[in-house]
């Protein structure tokens, strides 16, 4: 029995089938497409959000740590500066001590050397005096060829030389 429906007409059976088809389509699309895809999108979104919040947390922590470490480093630097300053002042003090000690020692050495030299000079002068007096006596003996009291002579000469030395 083939024929045509009217152009603007409603066939209840067609309507029923349409209704059922719509329901079936809706259920299948919902079950197999929309819900799983939406779930997937949401879970991915959640994962991304988690990742981002984790990253943010880590970043904040890192920044905190950075500030902390900077502070610590500043502290250490100050400590180091203090230590160096202390060491420097101590070193300078020590230096002064050493230098003054060395100066004192040097002075002592110099004065001792001076004394030695003076003593040597005296000794040499005495020797020279003796020799000169001897020579003078000899010369005088030869010149006057007259034996005089050696002792007296010697004292005369010595006196003379001493006078010379004093004048010198």
């Amino acid at each position: 029995m083939s024929g045509f429906e009217s152009i603007v007409g409603i066939d209840p059976w067609t309507a029923l089938f349409t209704f059922l088809n719509m329901i079936i389509t809706f259920l299948i699309l919902k079950k197999f497409l929309f819900v799983p895809v939406k779930k997937m999108i949401d879970s991915r979104q959640k994962e991304i959000d988690d990742l981002y919040s984790d990253a943010n947390d880590s970043k904040e922590k890192a920044e905190e740590m950075l500030v902390d470490y900077k502070k610590k480093i500043e502290n250490y630097r100050q400590e180091g500066d203090e230590i160096i300053k202390n060491a420097t002042t101590r070193g300078e003090k020590r230096e002064q001590e050493i230098i003054s000690k060395a100066n004192a020692q040097a002075e002592a050495i110099i004065s001792k050397a001076h004394e030695d030299v003076m003593q040597e000079k005296k000794k040499v002068l005495n020797e020279v005096k003796n020799e000169i007096s001897d020579i003078a006596i000899e010369i005088a003996e030869k010149v006057i060829e007259k034996e005089i009291d050696e002792e007296k002579h010697k004292s005369l000469v010595e006196e003379f030389i001493n006078n010379i030395g004093d004048e010198k």
């Binding site: 083939s2 066939d11 089938f17 197999f32 819900v35 939406k38 999108i41 991915r44």
Partner: protein, 291 residues
């Protein structure tokens, strides 16, 4: 122009073209859903990217129109929109008749929308509240409210049905008309002296080459149309290929672009948008959310 053809009847149940297309659309959609929805992975491939894009677009549309709290309506709206779209476009296959060019289909969908609206209203304020809502804001509005409630599905159904049906009616009218005109023109040309088609051919070729030289698409099209006309009138003259309705060559395609594709898409969108608006109005946001 006829309504949907009745293939056969099982008792009182008549199986029409609409029934067949509607079943076919359902099967296509279900297969598509099963194919697109399977093997979803967190790290998605190309197919899944497209699917997710479409699904999230639909969710976005529904949430924009109905509000975030109504996002669970998306599967129904999606099913409605896809059924409507495929039901309209299926008419272009030539095998099936558009399911939406049958008032039974669109009226069913419109009634489903109305029932959903009523159900939402009843859920919201109870049967009495729903009935009381008809007499608001004043008692005088009662008949008008009832009429608008009845008119709503009818207008929705007729809008969709009329657009698709009217499109196909118009397309077939244009087809028949153009076929008639072309047999008339070709008949006249074949009875005229042989010079006429030759001159037509020559003019067509000249126009075509001028079009090529000046790079003008319109001249090319006109030229080739005139050439085709000349060729076919020559063929008609020598009885080689007689009765070819050549004027139906290009124009109906352009019309079909509008009436079948554009109109089908727009009506699917309009129908689902209206459903969204009506149902969305019936399901206002929960009290805690409002303000």
């Amino acid at each position: 122009m006829n309504g949907p053809k009745i293939y056969f009847q099982i008792g009182p149940v008549s199986i029409t073209q609409t029934t067949v297309s509607s079943f076919f659309v359902m099967i296509v959609l279900c297969v598509l859903a099963l194919f697109l929805g399977k093997g979803l992975k967190k790290r998605h491939g190309k197919r899944q990217v497209i699917v997710e894009k479409l699904v999230s677009m639909l969710y976005g549309l529904v949430e924009d129109t109905m509000g975030k709290h109504n996002s669970y309506w998306t599967p129904y709206i999606g099913a409605l929109m896809m059924s409507s779209l495929f039901g309209s476009l299926i008419g272009m296959t030539g095998i099936f008749r558009s399911a939406t060019a049958d008032l039974s289909t669109t009226l069913t969908w419109a009634l489903m929308t109305s029932v959903l609206v009523w159900a939402c209203n009843i859920k919201q304020s109870g049967v009495r509240g729903w009935l009381k809502g008809f007499s608001e804001p004043i008692k005088v509005m009662l008949p008008m409210n009832i009429i608008s409630e009845i008119a709503q599905p009818i207008s929705m159904a007729f809008r969709h049905f009329g657009n698709i049906m009217g499109g196909s009616v118009l397309t077939s009218i244009v087809y028949t008309g153009l076929a008639g005109i072309s047999t008339m023109v070709l008949g006249n040309l074949s009875r005229s002296p042989i010079a006429v088609p030759l001159i037509l051919l020559a003019i067509g070729i000249i126009v075509f080459f001028v079009g090529i030289k000046k790079v003008k698409l319109s001249l090319k099209i006109i030229g080739s149309a005139v050439v085709i006309l000349g060729v076919f009138s020559l063929l008609e003259m020598f009885d080689i290929l007689s009765g070819v309705p050549i004027l139906t060559l290009g124009l109906p395609g352009v019309l079909s672009l509008y009436f079948d594709i554009f109109s089908g898409c727009v009506q699917a969108l309009v129908f689902s948008l209206l459903t969204m608006v009506y149902v969305g109005n019936a399901c206002p946001p929960p009290e805690s959310d409002s303000n």
